[in-house]
């Protein structure tokens, strides 16, 4: 069964990569490419949330903060210090990961709603810091609510499709690895019964922190690429709580704690909004909301979770 699962995994990842790789050559529609890029972007975002919250059950309500930090790190590195895009993207990941360390260390001691509130508060605080920093200290660093305009590199959509694709692939591989590894069992043990995990030898603080920092790192990189793609960032946009909500909903729809969940959820929700958004411009949000509620009611464990339950597909130990 393990072998069959791995074969399936490789087949899935391989064919998705191939699909993304050939997409720019089979379609000339910029619209299709952009939608594909947005889907892949959200697959990455939702996957990041899944790494921390999906496996441990610690509901992070402020992951967007690392996205925002990554965006600003890239923007500042590129505009102020003239760093080129690729190193700037990596800097974004490193900066996010470094900030995640003390924040994770303190907030991961909280449980349930308290953790959600603390992470949410941190994200909102960072937004305010970026907004008010320059005015308070009389410097010109974050540019406050004016935002930062990044240099336009003249890259086409294909470039960003591939960039996001590469990062999303890494995020999926990390999750796939989690499912059947020691690290993954540690996370799942924390999800089920944290005290039992601790007395069975799981360094619960360390394992939670590793997951938290990993997802922060990838979120930072995603933020970096996105800021270069959009070329204009403001605190209100990159620290927007809607991004958090979307990551959460996509993962819940697809299935928490499964690596395919965020993929299915992100693709479904993005396509749904896109299709309904063009067909019913005025009412589409009501329809999307109703569909989300229906799915949550019918499949509380998400699409993949429900399929797993129905088929009795369990990973062997």
């Amino acid at each position: 069964m393990k072998k069959r699962f791995n074969t399936f995994l490789f087949a899935f990842i391989g064919s998705s990569c191939l699909l993304i790789a050939v997409l720019p050559f089979v379609t000339s529609s910029e619209y299709t490419l952009r939608v594909a890029t947005v889907i892949i972007f959200w697959i990455g975002m939702a996957g990041c949330w899944n790494i921390t919250s999906g496996y441990t059950g610690y509901i992070d309500f402020g992951p967007v903060v690392y996205f925002g930090i990554g965006s600003y790190a890239t923007a500042i590195a590129m505009t102020k210090y003239g760093v080129s895009f690729f190193p700037a993207g990596l800097i974004a990941g490193v900066v996010s990961g470094l900030i995640a360390f003390p924040i994770g260390l303190t907030t991961l001691r909280l449980r349930g709603a308290y953790f959600a509130i603390a992470t949410f508060a941190f994200a909102e605080t960072m937004k305010q810091v970026v907004l008010e920093f320059d005015r308070t200290f009389g410097v010109s660093f974050f540019q406050g609510s004016h935002g930062i305009t990044l240099p336009i590199g003249g890259h086409d959509n294909t470039f960003f499709l591939y960039s996001f694709g590469l990062v999303a692939l890494c995020i999926i591989l990390v999750q796939a690895r989690i499912e059947n590894s020691k690290f993954g069992y540690g996370l799942k043990a924390i999800h089920e019964a944290e005290q039992s995990a601790e007395i069975s030898g799981v360094n619960t603080t360390g394992v939670k922190l590793q997951a938290y920092i990993t997802s922060a790192l990838f979120l930072g990189v995603l933020g970096g690429i996105q800021s270069y793609w959009i070329t204009y960032i403001t605190p209100a946009d990159v620290f927007n709580v809607h991004k958090t909500v979307q990551m959460v909903i996509m993962t819940l729809l697809g299935g928490m704690g499964t690596f395919l969940g965020p993929v299915v959820g992100a693709a479904f929700l993005t396509l749904l909004s896109e299709i309904l958004g063009t067909a019913f411009v005025e009412y589409y949000l009501i329809m999307v909301g109703a569909i989300i509620i229906a799915i949550i009611l019918l499949m509380p464990r998400g699409v993949i979770g429900t399929i797993k339950e129905a088929t009795g597909m369990r990973l062997p130990s």
Partner: protein, 252 residues
């Protein structure tokens, strides 16, 4: 040398003194019974030993090193593990995976070695047939054995069992006692908290008795069963009960 030693351990919860000046030694391959009425501090003592609570006073020594206030997962990796009174399996995981976590993290085995080790232990406690079942779907006696299996998988030398036989019928208790004997033969030491007197008297080499957080007696099962302080703690003061009647009659 004692494998585990508590030196004047005390624990306060605010104004409540849950444990006061408890000292005892556990020798290698010994089964030590720990008894006492409800609220005597048995679980608190276990929590102080395994690091879930930090003792307010005193020291816990394990193999000659001071482990007072060390984090629970570190204590587990040193070789000291407890099973909970309230069964807390990793519900969404299978029986095998539950034990695997102990082997991966407690014994720090790599996956390749942890899987055969898990199978060996499941076989040992008699859960091999339930390996792929969800741990939330198995019976109470099986869950009790699962707790033992997870503790064994961590490779610990000392096992603290907090009411591991609660909810078992007499036949299942006998089976559990046989299993504890087998665990001792593996070279492990056990501290057993139990309310079932027949079980704890039968299997323990020595027994210590806690009441209101202090150790009131220590000795062989035979000594304990005739110890007047212990009888008083459990059943109340026989003399005062009779004395009350005597007083009444004498005054009447």
């Amino acid at each position: 040398m004692a494998q585990l030693e508590c030196l004047n351990v005390g624990k306060n919860f605010g104004a409540l003194v849950a444990l006061d000046d408890v000292s005892f030694q556990l020798r290698r391959q010994e089964i030590l019974g720990l008894i006492g009425p409800n609220g005597a501090g048995k679980t608190t003592l276990f929590n102080c030993i395994t690091g879930l609570e930090k003792p307010t006073r005193g020291k816990v020594m394990f193999n000659g090193t001071d482990i007072t206030g060390v984090r629970p997962h570190r204590i587990c990796r040193l070789g000291l593990v407890k099973t909970s009174q309230i069964m807390e399996p990793f519900k969404a995981l299978s029986v095998g995976e539950n034990v695997l976590i102990g082997a991966l993290y407690g014994a720090m085995l790599p996956m390749k070695k942890a899987i055969p080790e898990t199978e060996k232990i499941l076989d040992f406690v008699g859960l091999a047939a339930e390996k792929d079942k969800l741990s939330s779907s198995i019976s109470v006696p099986a869950r009790r054995r699962l707790e033992l299996a997870r503790a064994l998988a961590t490779g610990a030398q000392v096992l603290l069992l907090d009411e591991n036989m609660a909810g078992l019928n007499p036949h299942e208790i006998d089976e559990a006692l046989t299993l504890l004997g087998k665990i001792r033969e593996l070279g492990k030491s056990l501290i057993v908290v139990e309310h079932i007197m027949r079980a704890v008297m039968g299997i323990s080499d020595r027994i210590i008795v806690l009441n209101y957080g202090t150790k009131i007696a220590e000795g062989t099962p035979k000594d304990i069963s005739t110890n007047s302080t212990v009888i008083e703690a459990y059943f109340g003061d026989k003399k005062s009960f009779l004395g009350l009647n005597e007083e009444r009659t004498s005054h009447g």
